[in-house]
Point group: C2
Chain length 348, copies 2
């Protein structure tokens, strides 16, 4: 690209200005110096308005998922908005049972956002995409005036391929099925909250943000009649199980004693008066499968680095009220409702 009349980007001290969204040379320079360099692949290199890509194999269906990411702060223990947006969208594709193929990314940048932070975010995205084997094939950048945004918002869209005959859906849960989680609950949300509230612990609570398509593949191989997979993000396990109960027309009973929660996360939740069941996760799967396939599924999940603490946490029952309940440690039962409103704003 010819950029003779644009001063080079000052990646150390420079910041985003409106010219970087203007469709002129400054935007071309920003895209080539930061985005194209980090995401470099054959599709982006063509520089067209969109990416031309190999379609799924014959008989496979397309899966498409999109997510806006507005997490605050942008950088937190265990991750940042860059890897989070890659992981989150890959996970939405993976829980549909699909093989993630491609990512598209669009950026809304606030005037004055430091180029050094932008590059840090983009490099984190690129590293996460490379590690997951899912390239960012096309993108877009807009800039809004100072005070009209908040540093950076990123929307990622994922495209995947779903093999013929595979039908995972929140509507598939049946009475007698088991509910399994792949690990501890609440890590991501509490990592964000602990940073916002400046809570001090022996060691920082780290987000569990991770790409789950590998773990999802393990689950699908291990449980032949797997009903569904979900990633319990906003609203946590409580919201996800209530959605499943609604979609499937069933009830769910959880066993409090069986739910894995990191001790520091539990302590932080108690301190802040939060329930781990409502806290967002970014690296955990919920799986529902027939009772007979629980042992095989748990063994397979636990053999994967992201599923070491997988556990059966409850079962599906017949319930016309579609209630999610929990057997408490004291032997009682309580409703596990989803929250009416907002517990943790801008968690993802």
């Amino acid at each position: 690209m010819k950029k003779a009349y644009v001063r080079p980007l000052d990646l150390r001290h420079g910041s985003v200005d409106l010219s970087h969204g203007g469709g002129g040379r400054a935007m071309v320079q920003l895209i080539s110096d930061i985005f194209a360099r980090a995401f470099d692949n054959e599709w982006l290199r063509r520089g067209d308005d969109g990416a031309v890509l190999p379609a799924p194999a014959p008989g496979e269906r397309l899966v498409v998922a999109t997510d806006a990411h507005v997490v605050s702060p942008l950088f937190f223990p265990g991750g940042d908005i860059g890897c989070l947006c890659v992981h989150g969208t890959i996970n939405d594709v993976a829980v549909m049972g699909a093989r993630p193929l491609y990512l598209a990314a669009s950026f809304v940048l606030e005037e004055g956002f430091p180029l050094a932070e932008l590059q840090r975010v983009v490099l984190s995205m690129a590293a996460a995409a490379r590690e997951a084997g899912v390239p960012v094939v096309t993108g877009d950048t807009k800039v809004v005036e100072k005070g009209k945004g908040d540093g950076i918002f990123i929307t990622t869209t994922g495209i995947g391929a779903l093999p013929a005959g595979r039908e995972l859906s929140g509507a598939n849960a049946r009475p007698g099925d088991a509910v399994i989680v792949s690990g501890t609950l609440g890590d991501h949300g509490m990592a964000i909250m602990a940073q916002r509230e400046n809570l001090a612990f022996d060691s920082a609570i780290r987000s569990d943000t991770a790409a789950l398509h590998g773990l999802a593949a393990v689950a699908m191989d291990a449980a032949l009649d797997l009903r569904l997979l979900r990633d319990p993000t906003r609203g946590g396990l409580a919201a996800t199980l209530n959605e499943i109960a609604q979609q499937s027309g069933v009830g769910i009973v959880l066993d409090e004693a069986a739910i894995p929660v990191d001790p520091q996360v539990a302590a932080a939740c108690e301190f802040l008066g939060l329930d781990p069941l409502n806290i967002a996760n970014e690296g955990k799967l919920i799986a529902v499968c027939p009772a007979a396939q629980v042992d095989g599924l748990l063994a397979a999940l636990r053999a994967h680095p992201l599923g070491a603490r997988a556990a059966k946490v409850g079962e599906v029952i017949a319930d016309d009220h579609r209630f999610v309940q929990m057997k408490t440690a004291f032997g009682g039962r309580r409703m596990v409702d989803w929250l009416a409103g907002e517990q943790l704003p801008r968690i993802c």
Copy 2:
């Protein structure tokens, strides 16, 4: 969905609050009452984390394009951010030569944004998607605190199918080819600017925002050796032709007298000291084809309601400098450079 404990949305007086992004019932209600109702289709109705969709026909390739939309004001003569984001993304897919199939939409809403305006935007999106025959199959909604956004930002991602053997690209222009535009230049950008600057004209300048996949299909049928299609949005014709010159390694010479510009747009440009060649369009195609196919292409474009004022505006020449020049009405020549920076912020 059970929403018993959430008060119904007040679509007349209500506004977005943080609870609408929280993953709880308020978000479920917002999505079901405004988004799902407007976009209603079989894929959205499943309520899963992503959409499962038929893949392109055997032999076809995928085309993916994504765009963030931050246009200000949200409503302008001829359109609004809702139809604009549908048209813009369909057009990015269409100029690749692909048949647009599906749209994904993600929303970043600012706390306090009136629900009535949100519904107006969403209904406009839904109408544009329906008219274009390209459904919104999945989406996401986030809410940011008041002062951290600007009402509504929308990222749309388009997925299309590209027939085997079709290869349109900005790299295909060859010396001797003709450059064609499908109609008047600068309408969208000047409609926005005129509203921002409160310029008064006999009649308001209207945005040309429109879905161009039908017109693109006409162009591909009419010119068998069509080199490329582009939609000259941000940066206008000047930026798009400079991109093509760069990608193809050629020069381009425009004929000023042949470039169609609406008289009111020309007057507004003169008043504001702007060049129509730099102004964004949202409903125009640029086509490059062999000289021998110009007449057939122009006749076909002019027979389509969106191409009535199609014209040949220049030709491709051999030029190692990859310059875009213009023969002026006075017989001279001037460089048509792309702007270094920002002329019209938040035009799309």
